[in-house]
Each structure stands twice: as C-alpha cells, then as structure tokens.
Amino acid sequence: GAGVSQSPSNKVTEKGKDVELRCDPISGHTALYWYRQSLGQGLEFLIYFQGNSAPDKSGLPSDRFSAERTGGSVSTLTIQRTQQEDSAVYLCASSSQGFEQFFGPGTRLTVL
C-alpha cells in the first residue's frame, strides 16, 4: 500500500516569504507527526496530531510555525515570514496503534 507522501520534495524560498508543506499520511493512521532535521542534527519534534484531540504543539520553535490536519487525514505545516534558520528537512510521520512511526521522504526547505 501507499506510504506517507510529502510535497513538495524541495522548496527554495526567500527570507520573509511564507511556505506551506503538505503531508499525506498512511490511510487509516490516526496519529500524525511533524519533525525537522537541521544540518548535522537529529530529528526534532515539532507537532503531533492524534485523532480528534487537541494537537501537541510543544515542539514548535516559534509562533511563525503552525499546522493543521483536515478531516483527520492530510496535514499542512505553515511557516510564516521564513528565516534562514528555518532551512532544514521537514519530515512527516504517521502511526496507527503502535510505537512505530512511518516516515515520508521529507521536504527540503532552503531559505535564501
């Protein structure tokens, strides 16, 4: 079956512009996560959606970052007024009822 998909695969933007990153989780997975990996770093948790519960936003680095999940499926991560330090690979993952999270290929964001 289809895995987690993300779009775009690459995004180059200018400092100060807004960007939207999309994630399509595995069908039926109730939990959806956003992480990012900056150069030379591990994966950093950003936000987590579980069913109809309020999302866990504890990892969002600033109020320029927001995310939504529509209809319990597709999610969009929005970064407003992008900064150069936002450059990273943004990874989306989904899970069903276990600990294992299934990751998408990521979106490489470059802020010039």
């Binding site: 939990a31 994966l43 948790f45 579980q50 866990d56 600990f99 294992e100 990751f103």
Partner: protein, 113 residues
C-alpha cells in the same frame, strides 16, 4: 539539552564483521526505544525496537540490548553488509504508543566490502 545521545558520529567496519552502535539517554521516563535507518534523500525507516521491560530483542541480523541502570542501549548488526551503510538514529518514547519520539543525532555507518 540532549535527552538521547549518540556520541559517536560515525563508524566504519569491514563486511562480515559486527557493527555496534551505541546510544545513551538521560530521561528515566523513556520506556520504549527504537532504531531507525536512513538513506540519503529518504525518510527514516523503522529497524527494531525494545520495551523497557526487556533487555534484549533480536530480529535476524539485528539485536538491540538495553541496560536500564546505565541508561544505555546498543544495536548490534552481524554480519554487517555493504547495504547496511546508512545513518542510524536511536529514538525514545515516554508517552506510550502513538506519542512523540525523541531522537539522537544519528551515527553514520560505513561497511567496507
């Protein structure tokens, strides 16, 4: 503050030999641990996991050992194969199933033919 630490950034081993990848953690609330493997330009893929109630879990060539008192776990790959060359991430969970993972910075494993 890094709660999951992979202190060795890289490891190089000969094909057929054992690879041992280490991971330390500081948060005593972690109760489930996972190893992920990542190739360039791909997302991480799950490899093997272990619950804190166990000290060993084995799956084919991969074995994970957990030492709770030392807050240390290790991944053993034997025999190592060139296709194992990748970045390996250690991750930990404290909130049960379907909760966020805390990752280490990763170890780049190179298996020489």
């Amino acid at each position: 503050d890094q709660q999951v630490k992979q202190n060795s950034p890289s490891l190089s081993v000969q094909e057929g030999r054992i690879s041992i990848l280490n991971c330390d953690y500081t948060n005593s609330m972690f109760d489930y641990f996972l190893w992920y493997k990542k190739y360039p330009a791909e997302g991480p893929t799950f490899l093997i996991s272990i619950s804190s109630i166990k000290d060993k879990n084995e799956d084919g060539r991969f074995t994970v050992f957990l030492n709770k008192s030392a807050k240390h776990l290790s991944l053993h790959i034997v025999p190592s194969q060139p296709g194992d060359s990748a970045v390996y991430f250690c991750a930990a969970s404290a909130g049960g199933a379907n909760s966020k993972l805390t990752f280490g910075k990763g170890i780049t494993l190179s298996v020489r033919p």
